[in-house]
Symmetry: C2
Subunit: 379 residues, 2 copies
């Protein structure tokens, strides 16, 4: 198979993403040295994230589940769309550098392209153009996606508050807010109700899925048999955890909504609530002074218990605690931010804790949020 033939398969798979008006006069669609995408507002957001077989996913997991091309394409795109969302922006284009072993079945490549298109379409990024890519060979599948985005006209949301809000955050603290689901923009809405089981899985589910996927199938069966029947997770919860890991669903409407609502800082939760909240605290502190101790994130104990409760079954099967999944589990791609107590949050956001000045006492009903989280370099 020549590169031209392989490219044809990929381009055919991406065809549904090429809609009229996506490439207006004056732009250049993929196929040239570079694509030319519109950047209407004077600035372009850019972020890149790569995913490698053997490190970030396995074709066949010890639990017996396969990663389809569709899953890999979906996740590679979803985690990048999430980065633009977390700046309060809207994705305008993405490019993919895809490395494939020569033995990769064509069906897998077609499925990968369908996953790219599926994520753009079903996560709600209609303005995101697939603006080209690069194909190469290697021993393992590797997908590096770069996404461009248009910033919201009202501004971008960084990990540290803008200078105008910084003094008050450092003096008074701020509410820690979180969003996982976007009512009206997701499968939950399509199904007509926002029942918990229809909503996107919350913090910890993707990490539970990873723990399950990495456990040998027979071992999972042994563990399930050893659990009291009332603690055994149902098939629906197992599928939900695995799906949260393989097909993350960042709430793309909520980044721009956060800008409009006056939320102060925003980031996506890719390495766990605790680690990412401490990063936000460190960025907030460093923006004011490199020497002073950074503010401290606290988690609302009632919220934590509520988020952990539905995870009990899968956590027991995975051999970890449900609460550590919520505070330490990564790859959820929800949104974490700071807001004033008086700010009216957009639908989908909830208050989950507080950021307090270093040395301030624990807010009532709160626990310190541990920093533990995922580090790909094992540190």
């Amino acid at each position: 198979m020549t590169e031209a033939q392989l490219l044809r398969v990929v381009l055919d798979g991406l065809a549904p993403a090429v809609r009229p008006g996506h490439w207006p006069p004056g732009t250049v669609a993929p196929g040239d040295d570079a694509a030319l995408v519109p950047a209407p507002r004077g600035g372009t957001l850019v972020s890149t994230d790569a995913m490698g077989e053997g490190t970030d996913f396995l074709h066949r997991w010890p639990a017996g589940v396969r990663t389809r091309g569709h899953d890999a394409g979906w996740k590679a795109v979803a985690q990048n769309l999430s980065d633009v969302n977390a700046m309060g922006g809207t994705a305008s284009a993405l490019v993919t550098a895809l490395t494939l072993p020569p033995t990769t079945p064509l069906a897998w490549v077609r499925s990968f392209a369908a996953g790219v298109v599926g994520a753009v379409d079903r996560l709600g990024a209609p303005g995101c153009r697939v603006a080209g890519g690069d194909l190469g060979t290697g021993e393992r599948v590797h997908a590096a996606v770069t996404v461009l985005g248009d910033p919201h006209p009202a501004g971008v949301l960084c990990r540290a508050p803008a200078p105008a809000a910084r003094e008050r955050v450092l003096a008074e603290g701020a509410d820690l807010v979180h969003a996982q689901d976007a009512p009206g923009s997701s499968g939950a809405a399509r199904s007509g109700a926002l029942r918990p089981s229809a909503a996107r899985p919350g913090p910890g589910w993707a990490a539970a899925g990873l723990a399950l996927l990495l456990t040998d199938r027979d071992e999972l069966a042994r563990r399930a048999a050893a659990l009291p029947p009332e603690d055994r997770p149902g098939a629906r919860d197992l599928a939900r955890a695995v799906r949260a890991q393989l097909r993350p669903r960042p709430p793309l409407a909520l980044g721009p909504a956060a800008v409009e609502a006056g939320i102060l800082t925003l980031m996506d939760v890719s390495d766990g609530l605790g680690r990412d909240a401490h990063r936000m605290a460190a960025a907030t502190g460093a923006a004011a002074s490199a020497e002073a101790p950074p503010p401290v994130p606290w988690i609302d104990a009632a919220w934590l218990a509520e988020a952990a409760a539905p995870l009990r079954g899968v956590a027991a099967l995975a051999g970890v605690s449900a609460e550590s999944l919520v505070t330490g589990g990564g790859e959820d791609y929800g949104l974490l931010g700071l807001a004033w107590p008086e700010t009216v949050l957009p639908a989908g956001f909830v208050r989950i804790g507080r950021l307090e000045p270093a040395g301030a006492p624990a807010p009532a009903g709160h626990r310190e949020l541990p920093e533990a989280g995922w580090d790909p370099f094992g540190g």
Copy 2:
């Protein structure tokens, strides 16, 4: 080592690229979910290219040469800067997704960062911001770079001529033009003279370098001994070929110059003059009619002989013909385009052939340009 520690090493290495004014108010430097780079002219060029150990480079080549981190970082960046140049644009930012085996020496990572900075600086891309990246682990080194660029205010140069020029190109043909060196913007200029030995190596040198690098050191010595002394390449030519492969030098001033001069089409030569000229011919034909046979590229026999002559020695040692290196060798990152016979070319560009309507007779002194070139999928 934690990700934070490794990141520190990379960021320290990139520090020379962070200059005052690069991140003006309203932009966001790397370190957040995404960077926000200025896009002053309403559109953004975007392109991505990846490089993998084992496929695109070897840490230690059979010829005994090592690929330093500096070489890998330089080339990953150079081939991307070349894509923006080939659209007539100016690079504004780049991001890198870098995958490293856990055993990679820190010195190699530092050297990679220095290569990124070195290419941006010494190839002449002062406006190109290093806008972030992604670090991951894997079995092999893999670097996927995405570059953004500002289009020239006067327009972009694609592989097919703009509609206004298309009819005349199809009826009358056009001159095939090529640029490898930019007088006044390169090491050649710094050395004070544009002697051939000081100029950037022309088409075929990078492919010669690859052929030499892939040949066992002892075999190279045997072959050299078997050559008549007058055919044996000198050490300077060997170093030049290897350097052309490991450290390509796209002429970044010449893309924008081509727009200003009224050149009609432009692309960078990454897969060989012949293959890329046929791609340009096919794009030109397809833009007018999907059924009619595309126009045909012809190469000036005198130019070809002149380009091949200095390659005789390294070609003999590599066991290939010098002319096939010139017409089929890839990774030179020169510029190939079409121009009217009456167009005054910018310094650095030369006329190397003709594009003629299908069925037209051979232009005097020209040979058909074979399509042979490099295909990573071996087709």
